[in-house]
């Protein structure tokens, strides 16, 4: 815990603690080679992207996720210190559980594992109508099927008419169309809502 605090202190000081820098690139270089030094792997048109994986997690061991894709492909996904993990919010490796679904993007290594840059766990994107509203609940009608959306206080945000997100959910209306980005609760028809897009 203190390690985390110290590290955060260090990083905070590095970005805001230093004296205000005047120029646009005061330190270091932004030459194009900085971005493209690694070089992109060319992918054949129509071929599956080797650097992308999706599926359900069937096993977890130290730093590694074992995933079965929807096409039954088996994936080994390596999680490193530089991997971002999203599960309703940016989170850590220990929050990932067997049974979760995921999308991962990274770099395919020669040993067949995917070294993940980013992992999105249980993420769903749903266009639906609000059928009813309960206490911190949105009952969504998705093509005639019911989805229960849980609002998570402190995390869920609403964007009305594409303006910046706010935590005020009170402008959601029964019968209106919404788009929901959220985290699916595995093997249920329930999602926890990260962002709901609506017209106000």
């Amino acid at each position: 815990m203190t390690e985390t605090v110290d590290r955060r202190r260090l990083l905070t000081n590095a970005v805001v603690g230093s004296a205000a820098l005047a120029g646009a690139t005061a330190l270091g270089s932004l030459a194009p080679e900085a971005a493209f030094a690694a070089g992109d792997q060319a992918i054949e048109p129509g071929a599956p992207d080797p650097n992308f994986a999706e599926g359900r997690i069937t096993g977890i061991s130290a730093g590694m996720l074992f995933v079965t894709g929807s096409d039954m492909a088996l994936w080994r996904i390596r999680i490193t210190g530089g991997t971002s993990i999203w599960k309703l919010r940016p989170t850590t490796f220990d929050q990932v559980a067997v049974g979760d679904g995921l999308y991962a993007r990274g770099l395919r290594l020669p040993d067949g594992t995917l070294a993940a840059d980013s992992v999105w766990v249980n993420i769903v994107n749903v266009h639906a109508h609000i059928a009813a509203i309960g206490r911190n609940l949105l009952h969504l009608d998705h093509k005639g099927k019911r989805i229960v959306g849980h609002l998570v206080p402190g995390t869920s945000a609403a964007r009305y008419n594409n303006t910046p997100a706010v935590s005020d959910m009170s402008m959601l209306r029964v019968g209106k169309h919404v788009q929901v980005i959220g985290a699916w609760v595995p093997d249920t028809n329930e999602v926890e809502i990260a962002t709901v897009y609506a017209a106000a």
Binding site: A24, L30, S84, D117, N136, S167, S170
Partner: protein, 296 residues
């Protein structure tokens, strides 16, 4: 009792059938409704609309016959047969094309669920109830107006409640009213959601210059006084570093966003960047001859 209830049923059935036929024969959305219904699956896409119209003609004809004076048991039997036919159609739709629309009373897309079955069951019951009728509905309305109107209204209300396509006219407003009274959703405090900060970051000059270096999504974030710190992974000259952005937390000032790229194991800063300060006013705001000089 049954002597006055039975003759009222043809009136109800006739009105429902005419309402249903109106959609199939007169509505401009009939073609779309037919295409969405299970008829397209049953008889083929090209024949869906003619079949749909044909069902409408049968409904209209039977509706008019039910409403017209001589009350015959055959009419009630025909209505019962039609209701049975509808039930069969619903079963087919539920099994063969569960995603299709009912296409029953309105062009609104309404998948077949238990309420559609209950409504057809209700129509079948009304048809059977009408069998013993001997007098016309007009006579009953004249002799016992109050109970007759009350019964018809109750039956109509039941049919409306069993019609999913009519929900938006009564159920949605009721639920909205409940929401307005009970206020079940958080109205939100003054805390700024993470999404809002990320969007401010995306609109900053610093992001435009450095986003191409990033390899990961948002990894970590925390608040520090007036700043919210967002950490990504970046690649700089082939080296994996952390991109640490500081975004104003309670203000909207994308130009104030700063970033450092830092090699975390060593703590070495490899790039530090903030946008040049905004010029307070564009040049054309300044008056070219100063007012004081003009006065002198």
């Amino acid at each position: 009792m049954i002597s006055w209830i039975a003759p009222l049923q043809p009136l109800l059935l006739g009105l429902v059938l005419l309402w249903s036929a109106r959609l199939k024969l007169l509505s401009p959305h009939a073609a779309a409704a037919a295409g969405r219904s299970a008829l397209a699956r049953l008889v083929g896409d090209e024949r869906a609309l003619p079949t749909y119209r044909l069902v409408g003609v049968v409904e209209a004809a039977l509706g008019l016959v039910l409403l017209a004076p001589p009350t015959l048991p055959a009419e009630a039997l025909a209505a019962a047969a039609l209701s049975l036919g509808f039930t069969g159609y619903l079963v087919y739709a539920r099994l063969a094309a569960p995603e299709s629309s009912c296409g029953c009373l309105s062009a609104t897309r309404t998948p077949v669920r238990w309420r559609s079955f209950a409504r057809t069951g209700g129509l079948l019951a009304a048809s059977l109830l009408a069998l013993p009728a001997t007098v016309g509905w007009f006579d009953v309305l004249r002799t016992r107006p109050l109970p007759a109107v009350a019964l018809l209204l109750a039956e109509a209300a039941l049919l409306v409640a069993l019609s999913p396509e009519l929900d938006r006219h009564w159920l949605d407003p009721l639920r909205q009213l409940k929401v307005q009274v009970t206020r079940p959703l958080p109205a939100g405090g003054f805390d700024v959601p993470l999404d809002s900060t990320v969007e401010q970051l995306h609109r900053s000059p610093v992001w435009r210059e450095t986003a191409v270096l990033l390899t990961s999504d948002l990894r970590e974030h925390w608040d520090d006084d007036g700043w919210r710190i967002l950490v990504f992974t970046a690649r700089h000259f082939g080296q994996e570093v952390s991109a640490v952005y500081a975004v104003p937390r309670l203000r909207y000032r994308p130009a104030a966003v700063r970033v450092v790229l830092i090699d975390e194991p060593t703590g070495r800063v490899v790039l530090s960047l903030e946008s040049p300060p905004d010029s307070p006013e564009p040049d054309w705001v300044r008056p070219s001859p100063s007012p004081a000089a003009a006065a002198a």
